[in-house]
Symmetry: C2
Subunit: 271 residues, 2 copies
C-alpha cells in the first residue's frame, strides 16, 4: 500500500509538473516587442550612403549579425569587394568576375540594407517594359512617398545590365572614382530576381533616394548592381516598412568622415 | 484517512505546480535581442522634424509606447499641446501656462526623441557659462561628429529662458508661424535639469542638427523648450548612441506632406 501510495504521489506530481510547466510557459513574460513595434516591418541599414561615397569601405558588421535583421537586402562587401544581394535568407556577393559567392558569416559589410520580406502588394506586369517604365509603374502604386519599401522583381529579362567593382586598397578612393572603372555584365534572356528598395527623399544622405536594385540569376550564380533592364514578364512584390533602424559604426573611418555636405552629384555618378 | 491522503495529494500537486511553473519560466525562450543589438544604446524617434515643421501635429504614438523606448527624451504633445520632457522615466508636458503636467499614457505624440539614458561621459562645469559656451565645451568632448548623443544637464541656473506653445486647431499652421506667437518664461536662480540631444548633420531633415534641449525645474513643476541659459554650476552627462530607430506614422497627414525640400530656414526660426 505504501508503494502504491508513493506511485500515486509520483503520478500526480509528474502530471502537476507538466501542467505547471505549461502554466509557467504561458505565464512567462512575453518577449519585448522589438524596436519600432514590429521587427519584420523594420528597414535596417548599416552605416550611411554618404560615408560609402567618400570611401568608408571597412566592414563594420558581420553578415551573421546582418542576417538577424533580415532575409532580404543589398549592400557591398568589406573593402567594396562585391555587390551584396540577399534573397530568401541566402546572401551572396557578386564579385568583379560577375559570379555569385555565398557570404562567409564572419565576413563584414561597410554598407547594407536589409529587412524581412513580407509582400504587402503585388504589381502585375502584363506587358514588357524597360527599367524607367517599370519604376514609374511601381512608384504609382506606393501608398506614400514618405515611407521605405522593399521591392522584389521575379521574372524573365530579355536584356539586363549589371556592374560590380573590385576590392579596394587604402587609401580608399571615392566611390565615384571606383565606379568610373566598374566591370559591366550584359545578360540576354535571363530569368532571375532583382532585390532592392525604394527610399523616401527624407532619407537623403543616409540612403539612396528612389530605387536601388541588385540582381541575381535564377540559378544564383551571377548578377550585380542593376544599371539597366527590360522585364518581359514577371511579378513585382512590394513590402511597406514604416520603421527604420540604422546601426552606425562604433569606430573606424566613419567617425571622422565629413557627412555635412550634399553628395547628390557623387550619388548620381555611381548609380 | 481519505481526507488526509487527499490533502497530501493536494500539497504535493501544489508544490509540483510551483516547481513546474518555475521550470516553465526558466525554460521559456529568451526574448530576441532588440534591433541594433542593444536597446539601451538606441536613439528612438517618432516621425521627422520636417514633418512637424510643416504642421503634421496629430499624435501617432502613445506615451505608453514611447516609454518602452526610453526613460529620457523630448518632443511635443498631440496638436502641439505642450513641450515634452522625460527624465528618470517620468514624462511631462510643459503647457503654454508654463506648468509641467504628467503625461497620460494613452495620449499621443506627433514628434518625440527618446533613449534609455546611461551616462558615458561627464563634462565638469567649473565656471559659470552661457548656453553658447556650454554647447561648445560639450561639443569639443564628443568622440565623433557623426553619432547621436543624449545630453543631460543638472545644475543651478542664474538665468534660464524657455518657451511653450498652445494646442493648435486644423488646418494646422506651420511651426514657424506657431512659434512666432510662443509664450516665453524667464527663470532666475533656478535648479533643475535640461534634457536633450546632439544630432549629427547626417540626420538633417529627420531631426534637429546640433543641440535641442528642454528644461524642467528640480521640483518638476515648470519648464519648457530652452531658448537661453546661464549655468552657474552643475554636471553635464553625455550618452553616446550608435543606433538610431525611427517610427514613421502608419497613416495620417505624414503620408502626404512634402518632405523633399530643405527646411533649414524654418528650423532656424523655430529653434
Amino acid at each position: 500500500m505504501a508503494g502504491d501510495r508513493l506511485f500515486r504521489y509520483i503520478v500526480v506530481a509528474a502530471a502537476a509538473l507538466i501542467v505547471g510547466a505549461c502554466i509557467g510557459l504561458a505565464a512567462a513574460p512575453l518577449p519585448p516587442v522589438p524596436e519600432g513595434g514590429a521587427d519584420r516591418d523594420t528597414l535596417f541599414q548599416v552605416s550611411t550612403i554618404d560615408a560609402l561615397l567618400q570611401g568608408t569601405y571597412d566592414g563594420s558588421m558581420t553578415f551573421d549579425e546582418l542576417a538577424r535583421h533580415g532575409d532580404f537586402g543589398i549592400g557591398c562587401g568589406d573593402r567594396l569587394d562585391g555587390e551584396l544581394i540577399g534573397v530568401d535568407g541566402e546572401w551572396y556577393l557578386i564579385r568583379v568576375d560577375g559570379r555569385a559567392y555565398p557570404v562567409a558569416g564572419n565576413a563584414t559589410t561597410p554598407f547594407a540594407v536589409a529587412t524581412f520580406f513580407d509582400s504587402d502588394m503585388t504589381v502585375p506586369i502584363d506587358a514588357p517594359m524597360n527599367l524607367t517604365a517599370l519604376e514609374s509603374r511601381v512608384q504609382a502604386e506606393l501608398p506614400s512617398k514618405n515611407l521605405f519599401y522593399a521591392i522584389r522583381v521575379d521574372g524573365t529579362f530579355p536584356h539586363l545590365v549589371t556592374r560590380s567593382v573590385p576590392a579596394q586598397e587604402k587609401p580608399y578612393p571615392r566611390l565615384a572614382d571606383v565606379t568610373a572603372n566598374q566591370t559591366v555584365f550584359t545578360f540576354e534572356n535571363v530569368t532571375g530576381t532583382a532585390v532592392g528598395f525604394w527610399t523616401p527623399a527624407l532619407a537623403k544622405g543616409v540612403n539612396v533616394p528612389g530605387y536601388h536594385l541588385h540582381f541575381i540569376t535564377g540559378d544564383r550564380t551571377a548578377g550585380g548592381h542593376v544599371l539597366d533592364m527590360v522585364l518581359a514578364e514577371g511579378t513585382v512584390q512590394v513590402d511597406t516598412t514604416t520603421n527604420f533602424t540604422m546601426a552606425l559604426p562604433a569606430s573606424g573611418d566613419f567617425w571622422t568622415v565629413d557627412l555635412s555636405g550634399d553628395l547628390s552629384g557623387d550619388l548620381e555618378q555611381v548609380e
